[in-house]
Symmetry: C2
Subunit: 115 residues, 2 copies
Protein backbone atom coordinates (compact mmCIF):
# COMPACT_ATOMS: atom_id res chain seq x y z
CA UNK A 1 0.00 0.00 0.00
CA UNK A 2 1.18 3.48 -0.73
CA UNK A 3 0.71 4.94 2.73
CA UNK A 4 -0.22 3.73 6.18
CA UNK A 5 -3.59 5.35 5.96
CA UNK A 6 -5.41 6.53 2.89
CA UNK A 7 -4.37 9.95 1.72
CA UNK A 8 -7.40 12.24 1.38
CA UNK A 9 -6.77 12.42 -2.34
CA UNK A 10 -4.35 10.93 -4.82
CA UNK A 11 -4.39 14.18 -6.76
CA UNK A 12 -1.37 16.45 -6.50
CA UNK A 13 -2.05 19.13 -3.88
CA UNK A 14 -0.25 21.69 -6.03
CA UNK A 15 -2.05 20.90 -9.28
CA UNK A 16 -2.63 24.10 -11.25
CA UNK A 17 0.11 25.97 -9.41
CA UNK A 18 2.63 27.67 -11.69
CA UNK A 19 6.10 28.59 -10.37
CA UNK A 20 6.06 31.91 -12.24
CA UNK A 21 3.13 33.10 -10.13
CA UNK A 22 3.59 30.96 -7.00
CA UNK A 23 7.13 32.09 -6.14
CA UNK A 24 6.88 34.09 -2.89
CA UNK A 25 8.09 37.51 -4.09
CA UNK A 26 6.20 37.35 -7.40
CA UNK A 27 2.98 36.26 -5.68
CA UNK A 28 3.33 39.27 -3.38
CA UNK A 29 4.00 41.65 -6.27
CA UNK A 30 1.01 40.40 -8.28
CA UNK A 31 -1.23 40.72 -5.23
CA UNK A 32 -0.14 44.33 -4.66
CA UNK A 33 -0.35 45.48 -8.28
CA UNK A 34 -3.78 43.89 -8.55
CA UNK A 35 -5.03 46.33 -5.91
CA UNK A 36 -4.56 49.53 -7.89
CA UNK A 37 -4.48 50.77 -11.47
CA UNK A 38 -0.71 51.07 -11.19
CA UNK A 39 1.72 50.92 -8.30
CA UNK A 40 5.06 52.60 -7.86
CA UNK A 41 8.06 50.29 -7.85
CA UNK A 42 9.38 51.84 -4.66
CA UNK A 43 6.08 51.31 -2.86
CA UNK A 44 6.22 47.57 -3.65
CA UNK A 45 9.84 47.48 -2.57
CA UNK A 46 9.10 49.11 0.80
CA UNK A 47 5.92 47.15 1.45
CA UNK A 48 7.68 43.86 0.84
CA UNK A 49 11.02 44.84 2.38
CA UNK A 50 13.05 43.96 -0.71
CA UNK A 51 16.20 45.35 -2.28
CA UNK A 52 15.66 47.13 -5.60
CA UNK A 53 17.77 44.48 -7.32
CA UNK A 54 15.78 41.57 -6.00
CA UNK A 55 12.46 43.20 -6.86
CA UNK A 56 13.70 44.17 -10.35
CA UNK A 57 14.62 40.58 -11.04
CA UNK A 58 11.17 39.28 -10.14
CA UNK A 59 9.33 42.10 -11.91
CA UNK A 60 11.32 41.22 -15.02
CA UNK A 61 10.18 37.58 -14.84
CA UNK A 62 6.57 38.74 -14.49
CA UNK A 63 6.97 41.22 -17.35
CA UNK A 64 8.52 38.61 -19.64
CA UNK A 65 5.60 36.30 -18.88
CA UNK A 66 3.20 39.11 -19.83
CA UNK A 67 1.74 39.32 -16.32
CA UNK A 68 2.73 42.92 -15.53
CA UNK A 69 3.52 46.05 -17.51
CA UNK A 70 6.32 48.39 -16.48
CA UNK A 71 6.23 52.09 -17.32
CA UNK A 72 8.87 54.71 -16.63
CA UNK A 73 8.09 58.31 -15.93
CA UNK A 74 8.90 61.07 -13.53
CA UNK A 75 7.27 63.06 -10.76
CA UNK A 76 8.93 66.44 -10.91
CA UNK A 77 12.62 65.68 -11.29
CA UNK A 78 12.46 62.29 -9.67
CA UNK A 79 12.38 59.33 -12.08
CA UNK A 80 9.71 56.81 -11.26
CA UNK A 81 8.83 53.31 -12.30
CA UNK A 82 5.27 52.08 -12.24
CA UNK A 83 4.08 48.52 -12.35
CA UNK A 84 0.60 47.46 -13.38
CA UNK A 85 -1.05 44.09 -13.73
CA UNK A 86 -2.13 42.97 -17.19
CA UNK A 87 -5.37 41.15 -17.90
CA UNK A 88 -3.32 37.96 -18.23
CA UNK A 89 -1.61 38.67 -14.92
CA UNK A 90 -4.90 39.14 -13.17
CA UNK A 91 -6.19 35.86 -14.57
CA UNK A 92 -2.98 34.08 -13.53
CA UNK A 93 -3.34 35.45 -10.00
CA UNK A 94 -6.96 34.29 -9.80
CA UNK A 95 -5.98 30.80 -11.02
CA UNK A 96 -3.24 30.66 -8.39
CA UNK A 97 -5.64 31.81 -5.67
CA UNK A 98 -8.12 29.10 -6.71
CA UNK A 99 -5.40 26.48 -6.36
CA UNK A 100 -4.30 27.89 -3.00
CA UNK A 101 -7.88 27.82 -1.75
CA UNK A 102 -8.13 24.11 -2.62
CA UNK A 103 -4.80 23.39 -0.93
CA UNK A 104 -5.82 25.25 2.24
CA UNK A 105 -9.08 23.28 2.36
CA UNK A 106 -7.22 20.01 1.81
CA UNK A 107 -4.82 20.70 4.69
CA UNK A 108 -7.78 21.73 6.88
CA UNK A 109 -9.52 18.43 6.09
CA UNK A 110 -6.52 16.47 7.35
CA UNK A 111 -6.32 18.68 10.44
CA UNK A 112 -7.18 15.84 12.77
CA UNK A 113 -4.05 13.77 12.18
CA UNK A 114 -1.04 14.30 14.44
CA UNK A 115 2.52 13.39 13.55
CA UNK B 1 1.47 59.04 -3.64
CA UNK B 2 2.45 55.46 -3.77
CA UNK B 3 -0.28 54.18 -6.02
CA UNK B 4 -3.16 55.58 -8.03
CA UNK B 5 -5.64 54.21 -5.57
CA UNK B 6 -5.07 53.09 -2.04
CA UNK B 7 -3.82 49.52 -1.77
CA UNK B 8 -6.01 47.52 0.58
CA UNK B 9 -3.07 47.16 2.94
CA UNK B 10 0.48 48.33 3.15
CA UNK B 11 1.46 45.04 4.72
CA UNK B 12 3.35 42.53 2.62
CA UNK B 13 0.86 40.02 1.18
CA UNK B 14 3.43 37.25 1.68
CA UNK B 15 4.31 38.06 5.28
CA UNK B 16 4.94 34.87 7.23
CA UNK B 17 5.59 32.85 4.09
CA UNK B 18 8.84 30.88 4.17
CA UNK B 19 10.46 29.71 0.93
CA UNK B 20 11.41 26.34 2.45
CA UNK B 21 7.72 25.48 2.85
CA UNK B 22 6.17 27.66 0.14
CA UNK B 23 8.13 26.27 -2.81
CA UNK B 24 5.63 24.40 -5.01
CA UNK B 25 7.02 20.86 -4.80
CA UNK B 26 7.82 21.06 -1.08
CA UNK B 27 4.39 22.47 -0.27
CA UNK B 28 2.86 19.52 -2.11
CA UNK B 29 5.10 17.00 -0.32
CA UNK B 30 4.32 18.44 3.11
CA UNK B 31 0.59 18.40 2.34
CA UNK B 32 0.72 14.73 1.31
CA UNK B 33 2.87 13.50 4.18
CA UNK B 34 0.65 15.37 6.62
CA UNK B 35 -2.24 13.12 5.54
CA UNK B 36 -0.86 9.83 6.85
CA UNK B 37 1.49 8.49 9.50
CA UNK B 38 4.07 7.88 6.80
CA UNK B 39 3.97 7.91 3.00
CA UNK B 40 6.01 5.97 0.52
CA UNK B 41 8.43 8.02 -1.56
CA UNK B 42 7.16 6.45 -4.77
CA UNK B 43 3.57 7.33 -3.95
CA UNK B 44 4.51 11.00 -3.58
CA UNK B 45 6.48 10.82 -6.79
CA UNK B 46 3.57 9.37 -8.75
CA UNK B 47 0.94 11.62 -7.18
CA UNK B 48 2.93 14.72 -8.02
CA UNK B 49 4.31 13.50 -11.36
CA UNK B 50 7.95 14.11 -10.43
CA UNK B 51 11.21 12.42 -11.29
CA UNK B 52 12.86 10.58 -8.40
CA UNK B 53 15.80 12.99 -8.60
CA UNK B 54 13.68 16.09 -8.35
CA UNK B 55 11.63 14.73 -5.46
CA UNK B 56 14.79 13.55 -3.63
CA UNK B 57 16.24 17.03 -3.85
CA UNK B 58 13.19 18.64 -2.30
CA UNK B 59 12.77 15.95 0.35
CA UNK B 60 16.39 16.55 1.34
CA UNK B 61 15.71 20.28 1.84
CA UNK B 62 12.70 19.44 4.00
CA UNK B 63 14.69 16.85 5.95
CA UNK B 64 17.59 19.24 6.57
CA UNK B 65 15.11 21.81 7.87
CA UNK B 66 13.72 19.18 10.25
CA UNK B 67 10.30 19.21 8.61
CA UNK B 68 10.19 15.57 7.48
CA UNK B 69 11.84 12.33 8.53
CA UNK B 70 13.02 9.79 5.97
CA UNK B 71 13.22 6.08 6.78
CA UNK B 72 14.49 3.29 4.59
CA UNK B 73 13.16 -0.23 4.72
CA UNK B 74 11.93 -2.97 2.46
CA UNK B 75 8.73 -4.70 1.55
CA UNK B 76 9.79 -8.25 0.67
CA UNK B 77 12.86 -7.80 -1.51
CA UNK B 78 11.95 -4.37 -2.74
CA UNK B 79 13.70 -1.48 -0.98
CA UNK B 80 11.37 1.27 0.10
CA UNK B 81 11.71 4.80 1.35
CA UNK B 82 9.12 6.33 3.63
CA UNK B 83 8.62 9.98 4.38
CA UNK B 84 6.80 11.28 7.45
CA UNK B 85 6.08 14.77 8.68
CA UNK B 86 7.68 15.88 11.95
CA UNK B 87 5.89 17.94 14.58
CA UNK B 88 7.90 20.93 13.36
CA UNK B 89 6.91 20.17 9.76
CA UNK B 90 3.27 20.04 10.67
CA UNK B 91 3.53 23.37 12.46
CA UNK B 92 5.35 24.91 9.50
CA UNK B 93 2.63 23.69 7.14
CA UNK B 94 -0.10 25.15 9.34
CA UNK B 95 1.73 28.50 9.51
CA UNK B 96 2.02 28.49 5.70
CA UNK B 97 -1.66 27.64 5.30
CA UNK B 98 -2.59 30.50 7.65
CA UNK B 99 -0.58 32.90 5.49
CA UNK B 100 -2.12 31.51 2.30
CA UNK B 101 -5.60 31.91 3.74
CA UNK B 102 -4.89 35.61 4.44
CA UNK B 103 -3.49 36.09 0.96
CA UNK B 104 -6.50 34.42 -0.68
CA UNK B 105 -8.83 36.68 1.33
CA UNK B 106 -6.82 39.75 0.39
CA UNK B 107 -7.00 38.96 -3.32
CA UNK B 108 -10.74 38.25 -2.97
CA UNK B 109 -11.23 41.66 -1.32
CA UNK B 110 -9.67 43.41 -4.32
CA UNK B 111 -11.76 41.31 -6.70
CA UNK B 112 -13.71 44.33 -7.92
CA UNK B 113 -10.82 46.12 -9.62
CA UNK B 114 -10.14 45.46 -13.26
CA UNK B 115 -6.81 45.90 -14.99
Amino acid sequence: MASDSLASSDESPVKGIDDVVHQRVRLGVLTIVNEARRVEFQFIQETMGLTAGNLSQHVRVLEEAGLVKVTKGSAGRRPRTWVSVTRMGRTALLVEVDSLRSLVERVERSGGSTP
